[in-house]
Symmetry: C2
Subunit: 637 residues, 2 copies
Amino acid sequence: MKKRNLYLNVIPVEEALDSYLSVVKKRVPLKTEIIPVVQALGRVTVSAVYAKYNSPLYNSAAMDGVAVVSQKTKDACELKPLVLQKEDFLVVDTGDPVHEPFDAVIMAEDLIETDDGGLQITEPAMSWQHIRPVGEDIVAHELILTSNHKIRPMDVGVLLSGGITEIEVYKQVNVAIFATGTEIIEPDQNIADGVIIESNSRMFEGLVAEQGAKPFRLGILQDDYALIRDNVREACEKFDVVIVNAGSSAGTEDFTVHVLRELGEVFVHGVAIKPGKPVILAMVGDKPVVGLPGYPVSAYVCYQNFVRPLLNHLQNFAEENRETVRAFLSKRLVSSLKHKEYVRVKVGKVDDKIIATPLARGAGAAMSLVRADGFCIIEQNQEGLDAGDSVTVELCRSLKEIENTVVSIGSHDLMLDILADMLPNKYKNMYLSSSHVGSLAGLMALKRGEAHMAPIHLLDEESGIYNIPMIKKLFTGGCRQMALIKGVKRVQGFIVPKGNPENISAMSDVARCRYINRQSGAGTRVLFDYLLRKNGISCEQVNGYDKEAATHMAVAALVQSGAVDCGMGIESAARAMNLDFVPVGFEEYDFAIERNNLDLPHVKAFIDVLKSEDFKQKVMRLGGYEFSACGEIVSVS
Amino acid sequence: MKKRNLYLNVIPVEEALDSYLSVVKKRVPLKTEIIPVVQALGRVTVSAVYAKYNSPLYNSAAMDGVAVVSQKTKDACELKPLVLQKEDFLVVDTGDPVHEPFDAVIMAEDLIETDDGGLQITEPAMSWQHIRPVGEDIVAHELILTSNHKIRPMDVGVLLSGGITEIEVYKQVNVAIFATGTEIIEPDQNIADGVIIESNSRMFEGLVAEQGAKPFRLGILQDDYALIRDNVREACEKFDVVIVNAGSSAGTEDFTVHVLRELGEVFVHGVAIKPGKPVILAMVGDKPVVGLPGYPVSAYVCYQNFVRPLLNHLQNFAEENRETVRAFLSKRLVSSLKHKEYVRVKVGKVDDKIIATPLARGAGAAMSLVRADGFCIIEQNQEGLDAGDSVTVELCRSLKEIENTVVSIGSHDLMLDILADMLPNKYKNMYLSSSHVGSLAGLMALKRGEAHMAPIHLLDEESGIYNIPMIKKLFTGGCRQMALIKGVKRVQGFIVPKGNPENISAMSDVARCRYINRQSGAGTRVLFDYLLRKNGISCEQVNGYDKEAATHMAVAALVQSGAVDCGMGIESAARAMNLDFVPVGFEEYDFAIERNNLDLPHVKAFIDVLKSEDFKQKVMRLGGYEFSACGEIVSVS
């Protein structure tokens, strides 16, 4: 085997960051520049800024009207109005200067024009009335902004009014970004076996730009030691910070750490963080270089933990405060003392309780970043958290949105995507969040009060009735009044490759092929087990009974890849993947819900969308659905 | 007099906005465009986006190691290790494809190389072990983003991984911005009598850019009807939205409304909002045109209330949620039923209570926007709020910062600016917020629990002692233990024009000139009154006794402008404005504080800065100070 960097020196996150930043602080002077104030939005002041001019620059009219000498108006009253002649007043608009001998302004509304061009007034003007004294807003030499102040739109306005046209600010940091890997292709290139579409560097571009720094994506480098070395060296000459993506681990072609050891000094290689362990923190000359891991979630977590504070330091930005919320954890989370862990969670509000439900924990689960409402951080000194534990969640979605979200946990169907898309379109600020754990697990979550509804399709073998018997069984004797929002009837069957090469037409055919099963508790698994028993087939006879996929689409993807010959699922999933489908029969896919929750405004909106013609049209196009009772409420008692 | 648009048709804010937006919704179709995903950060999706490819694209290694056929490893155990020969394995790095016959990956860490190039293992590999199945992260045809989703960095990454390279999003809105006014000059032009430095359009540029739209500042237009008309007409052809700043009121040269009536249709002219009444909401063809008032605070408030929702609508952005906090109001706020009012407030946390203190309410007080920690909104149906009322404040500074801020209310001195600048520089995330209301008002605020400290300089006439007698008098018999943080000795005297043309040298000279006084309760006013009595001069003898300025600098600015001949103040203010100064004597400027609060970390930091050599150096440069006891704590009992 080729040489690997097997032993990473793993140190705690805070220790890694602190020691690296202290090196950076020592070796990298913060750069400043003097720029026009009109270009300074979002930049940070180097020193305190004092006004150069007064604002207003002179005593000026605060109203539209006329400037007068107050002394000359002192006899005016309702009974004995006074008429000002042309030489007694000067017409002024707001902002016009008022000079001696004038010392007051009378508002236009309080003036009556006389035929000879005079103005009649019925009360005296007080000295200084409706006059803005010089410097009322800003006094010359007054402090406008302190040092270390991030410049906002109103600051720009006041700086200009105060006579400041140029300002010293910290320089915007230029960040070079390299993607490395021989297997990596640009998104517009043709896909082929063994390639990976490059996407991390584009995520970094966005993160860097959002932080007010300037990203320069310098493309993809093949896994070639000299090529990477020469490019990184050149970038270190031209840019303030260099990010090298992937090649940071211990694989045979992970050159990054070797390159950085040759070019400069590696301070950290390997941090106790999950996901994200193989991060590299280095310096080449006076330029910080960070090697980020290749898995997208690792890349994201490491960016946030190491690159973000680095760029904030170099631009002298304060750390952003993320909105956090205390939530109850819906599942047990086991974590190791070996690392600090970032768990992506869905957050929902059910029965006045904020609930956090962990999403997929894999480092490659980029979709979990998109789906996440926030991060639950398990510190390195915690072995994990129990279900029901109160945890702090860093939100990436506002609490207000979360409070207006229908939380659905249960079986997966493609129509949930359509509902999630339609709900906020039809009802502003109302959302659907759905987690796919299978029917039974959904009902259990509903019972624990973690969801508003559970989409289920559970056959009662004895009665042949769907869903209602299982709800009755699980919610017996409780004080909870349950109901069912009727969904759709949908066709279940075997998803098989195009042309059905294994010629599968009945349960007996399944035994002779490579099968992919669904997870225990999924309605489809319950149906499959029922059909096995009915046909007298044992689990052991099914090749692949123990291989589990989590959704219909995952089953279809595996069939399409050729890894398996067949799996049970819904017709729409087969169609979406352009596969063939062998129907087994209709089943009922409904939403179990506590009756109380039917009155929630977002649940009402959900039902309304479910009943809409538009929704049915869209689902119809997926294939394999029937809508006879869609949106009806059935009481379960 | 020239024609004025005297009668604005004033309608409530929400009504004005709703009726205008409903016109816009009818007449302006939302524009969309298809752009590369890599440029889509911050843009909003038009329709739901579904994945095109699986990710990973194939079954792939989840670890660095070797791919094996699990079946062939089933006999490996600790006691009887198995050696895999070259034909039994394939070296794989994370992400490499794993094809048949291989169906499992063994991690590099679990392998021992043998001398002949074989690999020894001590446990069997399970089928699918360390393999990421095709589509594990993203399944083709799965929903990636719903419609109306604002694209974040991680979304860009997942879209590319899912095979999406182009995306339909709402168009960025181009906003033309005109400043109008014959008196208006660019900030780099020479100032002269009667000019106003143009700054609002620069604030709008920043606000527009922060909202993700594109500002185009088209310069300053003179008050010329035809010029404004032709420019606005042309802009309406090229841009999506046009902002015309000022000329929106009822002055003689306020052409905006007339121009817009000629070019299109004016829906609203005059809204019940303070500040900001003279706003214009119009359409020219299918282009929204907004006339914003000229006073900077009015301009800001109207932008936030009308332009922000307009641009959000046109780009299909959700309204931002501002952080809010419940706070106790420190002062009574009288407001009219005629309008909704936006009051800028300072917010501080004192004794576990969040306190909101109103800032200057004038429409021209742009510095109040810079100084504000938030806005307290008085709805139109409220006549006002009492001191102690609980109010909601929309924050423009984070609550965390506010909680780390020393709240100082009292007398003004230039050294407070220096302290405010130095504190966060020396102690990260600690701040000083100071409001200038005069010594007595400061002590009253301290007594009501609205401030941590009150900077004061109050002479006790009987004893000739500064500050301590007044604190004793005000805090008698209470349970509050008070202390004094010693500040500086500073020179008070008469601020006079350069060369002292009125030849002022004693109190008796003041009676014969135009004087500017300080507000009642200010330490300087107390001193002046004391000196008047001592010299047998009555208030009536002082020309200008009733004219009040709020700070030393404001006094200096008025002297400099020639509006007055003389005012009492500190030497540093005279020096800053390059004026002459006639000293009267030293006074003691200290900080009254409750003893309990001396232990607060931010108060400790404050005292530390006060004691620092650096601070003294900086204040020394202002002139007229002495530091013998600076930072010492004196118990008042």
